[in-house]
Symmetry: C2
Subunit: 336 residues, 2 copies
């Protein structure tokens, strides 16, 4: 069975392109509140689980030892655009841990933020690993390694103690086995484990609400959640969906994208977790689904979310030529 069409891209009076996928909304006890498509299929969550991957940074004591505040904890769970503010903070996080960018194993990346990439080019400079969208996450990993006395070198490999701590956190939250025989290598070189959307949704329900977690872990999760809410610029950046959606929801939810059309999210007051994957990996479709989901679950009348939920499309002369829209009825049964 094919997953349902979730999002349509129109031109004129016709649907030009279609995006299929699966959506899971679950509570912390594993009860399904909503699902569409095959939510039991294992997917790679990629960067959408960075908030959970940041738990060892709190729980090891490294964040406190190195004086990391909300900005640093936001950047540690970010896929940032490589803007100067992101780059400077990643460098400061490394410096606080007695390291520099040479310790990063994520690889160099041109900033995805256009003006920041242009500024680098204007200066005849090359991007470094600090510009990599995952540099904050990697700085957090290195801080844990330094604080616990693990070797920094090789921290991105699946068998390094840092990656084991992260895998333990992911397994504990999601309740799903994270098997090194069923993992891929992420864009930033760390392992990404294949797990079902259901497990990811349950994991984020627990992460956001603290339910079924020890008080200590619930407090750590809450600190990571609150950091994202307080500093949304450091989660993604200027003009980006994650930053704008987190701001729009005013603390009501945390959402985070991953490459290839993935999103995870937590809606603490409702005790819910969200996980979705667009079959074809399209970000435009995944953002449309999540914006509509958040309108239904959290922020019914928010103007920013409404724009992301149904964006108009324009051509090179600014003529309105179509739109991206949720397929009617896809979220039926969820919200009013």
């Amino acid at each position: 069975m094919a997953n349902p069409v979730l999002v349509e891209v129109t031109r004129g009076n016709r649907v030009e392109s279609r995006h299929r996928g699966a959506i899971a909304v679950f509570d912390a006890n594993g009860r399904s509140v909503f699902s569409a498509g095959d939510v039991d299929e294992a997917i790679y969550p990629r960067s959408a689980v960075k908030a959970i991957q940041a738990l060892p940074l709190i729980e090891s004591g490294a964040a406190d030892a190195f004086g990391y505040g909300e900005r640093e904890l936001a950047l540690a769970q970010a896929s940032h655009g490589g803007e100067p503010g992101h780059v400077a903070l990643a460098a400061a996080m490394l410096k606080a841990a007695g390291l520099d960018q040479d310790a990063l194993e994520c690889g160099a990346q041109w900033p995805t933020h256009g003006a920041s990439a242009a500024a680098l080019r204007d200066a005849a400079a090359e991007p470094s690993a600090l510009h990599n969208n995952c540099s904050g996450k990697h700085a957090g990993f290195l801080a844990v390694a330094r604080h616990l006395g693990f070797p920094a070198k090789g921290y991105a490999k699946p068998d390094h103690p840092i990656q084991r701590l992260i895998r333990d956190a992911l397994e504990s939250l999601t309740g799903a086995a994270h098997d090194t025989d069923d993992c891929g290598i992420d864009g930033c070189s760390i392992p990404t484990y294949a797990v079902p959307l259901t497990a990811l949704a349950i994991g984020f329900a627990r992460f956001g609400s603290g339910q079924n977690l020890t008080p200590e872990r619930a407090a750590s999760a809450r600190r990571i959640f609150d950091a994202a809410i307080a500093e949304p610029f450091y989660i993604a950046g200027t003009g980006r969906f994650c930053s704008q959606a987190i701001t729009a929801m005013k603390g009501g939810a945390l959402i985070k994208t991953g490459a290839e059309g993935v999103f995870c999210g937590a809606v603490p007051n409702a005790g819910l977790g969200i996980a979705m994957k667009c079959d074809d990996g399209a970000t435009r479709a995944a953002e449309t689904v999540i914006a509509n989901l958040l309108l239904a679950l959290v922020a019914r009348d928010n103007a920013t979310l409404r724009q992301w939920a149904n964006p108009p499309l324009h051509n090179r002369r600014g003529m309105a030529i179509g739109e991206i829209r949720l397929v009617e009825g896809v979220l039926a049964g969820l919200g009013p």
Copy 2:
């Protein structure tokens, strides 16, 4: 019924993303040689029909009147990268017709060719309509308008005599009605008409082979075909699939991409036409399908096509993390 999965994107041992779509390979008499998915559904061919849209440029006598050679006829059917060579030739085409870039109604676009975009930025310059990937096509339209004494202004609108000539050519080749009530506005502001993949494949079988065309039209089509084969750089540009595939096939076929995952193509010696659309609009999938199709139909052992047919994927440190591949059996029955 959902269209079949044509292309898989893998990471580790697992398929991470999937692309569905439809493929039609027909002869000039409307006989199906191969099809996958719903080939009767109407789609917008976008830039994939530029070769047919160039017929009035020859048939009006404008190309000869303004001294256009193979380079100009290639650029008139191109989606080019905005490289200096493309921009200079588009400007020269306009100048020969007594016009300049102010006559273009395609809108400005940053070059898709990275180094050319960077060079513009370095010069603190803005892109113009000459950098628009369709500037050669629009220059050709304007040349026809000048030669036939039509007003240049408004040439992109559906009811302008130039667009009527183009629509007549498309209808005649494909045998499908091109209805202004079932058309969208393209990125470059001209109409794009919704027609079935079958009709597009038949149209390109006729275009490439000359079958079922008048001798005059067959000769015009051959001249456009030969121009693309002779000057593939002017069809797309440095590093681009269309240019590399046309070069690799050594005259055996013409293929051309359109936005949102569309391709059309002609294989004259076999008397065949090709049309495909990836449901979700993904270029990576459409290129993979076409490369495999060309390996089966035209150039069985070509190394360049083999690279495009099954590209490896690397992360930001250059580690091999997966591949893009055709789903096994998708082209079964076509070729050996």
